[in-house]
Symmetry: C2
Subunit: 398 residues, 2 copies
C-alpha cells in the first residue's frame, strides 16, 4: 500500500493535458489549444544558431551552469524589457525560467500557505489556476471588462480580505483577448503598493499586436517592488524551447533562486545558449513582424467568419492582438453541452476558467494555430452546432 | 511592502548555488562540485543529432508536446531500464523529468504535508535534502555503512514513526561513494511493502562502475509499487540537457503528470528529440565505457594520492564507481574549519549533508571533474592543510 498523498493534491488528472489531447484529435478543427503556427518556427535559424554556438564555445556549454541562467541572454532580455517601458531593469533583476509557467509556480510556492488570498481574473489562464490550486489558497475573482479586470472590485476585495497575490494577464488576456488600459495598469501598480500585495504580471502575448498602440507593462509603473513581470519565448520563437523569464527585485529573485534550485536546478544551458546565438544572428523584431502579419490575417478571418455565421444572440471579443477570441453564447446554453463526441470543432469551455463564478456559456477560440480556411470552415460548423443546440433547447423549453 | 513569504520557505540562499560558485573559483583545485569531465561531452554527435532530427521532422519538433515526454525516447529508456533488471517496465511507467532533481521535487510535492516523516541517508545529497526541506517534513536519518544505509535503524524508525518517504542513492552514493549490497536492496523493497512507505531510489551513477559486478535496482525487487526509480542523462551524457526519468506505477505517474503540468508544463521537446536521435545514431554503451575508462583512472589516482599524502588519523571510502570519495578527519577537526579563504582546494564539508546528526569531521571529494595532475596536487595540498590544522589544534589543546 502507498502512503497517503498530500491533502493539497487533487486526484483529478491534468486538465491542461486533456486540453492538449483534445487539440491533437484528428478530423476536428482545433480552436482549443493555445498553439503558435508551426509553419512559422525559424527552424533553419535555430539549427544554425545551435551548431555555431556549440562549435564556438568551449565544452562548458554542456556542463552544469548557473541557476538564474546564462548571463549574456539575461542581458539581451533585460535590454528587450527596457524597451517596453521598464526603464530601470538590470540583468540582476532578470531570472530565466522553464517557460513563464514555472515563474507562476515558483511565485505561488514562495508566497502561498494554505488558505492565503489570491485574486485572479474571471476568466483566467487554466495553467495559472492549476499552479495556485495545488497550494490550496482562498480564491477571489475580479471580472473582466472591455478594458481589463474590474479594479473597483479588486480594491473592495483587498480592503476586506488579506490577499497576497493578484494574477493578471494585461495584454491580450488569455482567454478573453482583452488588453488592459493604461489607466488600469497604473492603478494596478498603485493598489499593489497601497495594499501590500504582489502582482504577477503574465505578459507572453505583448509583442503580438496586430493593431492599435503598444502599452507599457504594469511593471513600468512599479516603484515599490510589488510587481513581478513574466515573459516567454514560447509565443514568439518556439514553445518547445521552454524558456521564459521573470523580472523582479533582487530580494525576491534570491528566494526564487533557492526554490528553483531545489525544484529542477536550472534550465538547459544548451537551449539558453542556442537562443542567445539566435538573437545574435537574427533580428527577433523581424521574426515577430512576420508572425504578426500571419496572425493578424487569422484574427481578422475569425472575426469576419463569426460575424458571418453566428446567430444574433451570440457575441464575441475583438482583440487587437494575441491568440484568442472569447465567444459568449445565450445565457441558457452551456459551452460544454456543445462538446459532444461528434462536435466537428474543439474549443475551451468557460466554466473551468473561472475559479469562483464558473460561468458556463462562454468559450475560448484560438486563431493562431489554424489556417484561414480552417477558421472559416470551423466557424461555420460551430455556428451550425450552436443553432442546432439552441433550437433543441427551445423545443425542450417549449 | 511585500506580502509575507510562505512559512515553509527558509530565507537562506541556495546552498547548491553557493556550492557551484565555490567550484567555479579560479586558482582553487575544485573537488567540491559533482561535475562530469567536460572534455568527454559528445559535442559533435549531439550537434549532428540535433540537426538531423530538426531537418527530418515536421515542425512539430518546435511545438508544445506531451507532459510525460517524447514517446520514442521513453521507449528507449524503458528498454535500457529493463536491461538493468527491472524486467517488467513499460513505456507507460516511464515519465521524463527536468533532471532527476525534478523527480525528487515532484514526489516531495505529491506526498508531503508539513510534519510528515521522511527518512534520508546520513549523509545524503544536498539537492534532495533541499527539495524535502521546503515541505517542512519531520526528518529521520539512517546512517551509512559500508554496504549501504543501516536498515535495522530504518526498520526501527518506521516501526515507531509514521514515515511516507525513504530517500536513497543505492549505487555509488552521493556523497559517500558506497554501493548498497544486494541483500539490502531486496530488504529495502520488502520493508517498503511491509510498512507502506515510498522508496525514492535515486540512481544517476549506476552506469559508472569501474570495478566489481553491477547490481539490480531496488525497483527490480518491488512487487507492491512502493519503489520509484529515478535516472538521468546528466552524468552519462550532459547535465546541460536537463533530462532525467522516473519509473513508477501508472497511478503515481498520473498524479505526477498533473503536478508537472502546473509546475513547468513539460521538458523541452527539442532537447528530448535531440537525445532520441543521438541514441539512434550512437552506441550509448560505448560512450559510457569511454567515460568509465577516464573516471576509473581518476578514482584510482585519488585513492593513491590520499594514501600517499593523508595523515594516519584520516580515512576515506574506496568506491567502485560514481563521482565521490568520502574523507573522514580526526573527530575533533571540522571540515568547515579547513575551508578558509586561502584554502587551495575546495570540497563539500559534511555537516550540511546530515539532516539530524550534523557530523562535521567529514568531506566529499569529487574526482571526475579534475585531471589526474590536479588530483595529485590537490590531495597533497589538502593533506598539508589537514596536518597544519591538526597541529594548530594540538597546540591549542596542549
Amino acid at each position: 500500500m502507498l502512503p497517503q498523498i498530500s491533502q493539497r493534491i487533487s486526484q483529478d488528472s491534468s486538465a491542461m493535458d486533456e486540453l492538449l489531447a483534445l487539440s491533437n484529435q484528428q478530423q476536428v478543427i482545433s480552436f482549443a489549444a493555445g498553439y503558435p503556427a508551426k509553419e512559422l518556427f525559424p527552424r533553419e535559424e535555430l539549427e544554425k544558431a545551435f551548431v555555431h554556438r556549440s562549435q564556438a564555445s568551449d565544452l562548458n556549454l554542456y556542463q552544469y551552469a548557473s541557476v538564474e541562467g546564462y548571463a549574456p541572454l539575461r542581458q539581451k532580455i533585460a535590454d528587450f524589457v527596457r524597451h517596453t517601458g521598464v526603464s530601470d531593469v538590470t540583468v540582476d533583476q532578470l531570472f530565466l525560467t522553464q517557460g513563464a509557467q514555472q515563474g507562476i509556480s515558483l511565485l505561488a510556492d514562495l508566497f502561498l500557505d494554505i488558505g492565503d488570498g489570491v485574486v485572479v481574473e474571471g476568466p483566467s489562464y487554466i495553467g495559472a489556476l492549476q499552479a495556485f490550486e495545488s497550494r490550496q489558497p482562498t480564491f477571489y475573482e475580479m471580472q473582466m471588462q472591455n478594458d481589463g479586470p474590474d479594479l473597483d472590485q479588486l480594491e473592495a476585495i483587498v480592503k476586506k480580505h488579506p490577499v497576497k497575490l493578484v494574477y493578471t494577464i494585461p495584454t491580450f488576456q488569455n482567454p478573453t483577448g482583452v488588453c488592459m488600459s493604461l489607466e488600469k495598469r497604473q492603478r494596478m501598480a498603485q493598489l499593489a503598493a497601497q495594499y501590500n500585495f504582489l502582482v504577477i504580471e503574465d505578459d507572453p502575448y505583448r509583442e503580438l499586436r496586430y493593431s492599435g498602440e503598444s502599452l507599457p507593462p504594469i511593471k513600468s509603473f512599479d516603484r515599490s517592488g510589488n510587481v513581478v513581470l513574466l515573459g516567454s519565448f514560447s509565443k514568439i520563437l518556439s514553445p518547445a524551447l521552454r524558456v521564459g523569464w521573470m523580472v523582479a527585485d533582487q530580494n525576491i529573485l534570491a528566494l526564487v533562486n533557492g526554490l528553483r534550485s531545489a525544484s529542477d536546478f536550472q534550465s538547459s544551458n544548451v537551449v539558453l545558449q542556442m537562443i542567445d546565438q539566435y538573437l545574435e544572428e537574427n533580428q527577433l523584431a523581424e521574426h515577430i513582424a512576420e508572425i504578426c502579419s500571419v496572425y493578424s490575417k487569422r484574427n481578422t478571418a475569425m472575426q469576419e467568419a463569426l460575424t458571418r455565421y453566428l446567430p444574433q444572440n451570440c457575441s464575441f471579443s475583438k482583440p487587437e492582438g494575441g491568440f484568442f477570441i472569447w465567444l459568449t453564447l445565450p445565457e441558457n446554453l452551456t459551452a460544454k453541452s456543445l462538446l459532444t463526441a461528434d462536435c466537428p470543432v474543439s474549443f475551451i469551455e468557460s466554466s473551468q476558467l473561472y475559479e469562483t463564478s464558473r460561468q458556463a456559456n462562454q468559450m475560448r477560440l484560438n486563431f493562431t494555430g489554424v489556417t484561414e480556411e480552417e477558421i472559416d470552415k470551423g466557424c461555420r460548423l460551430l455556428a451550425q452546432r450552436i443553432r442546432n443546440a439552441s433550437s433543441e433547447l427551445c423545443l425542450k423549453v417549449g
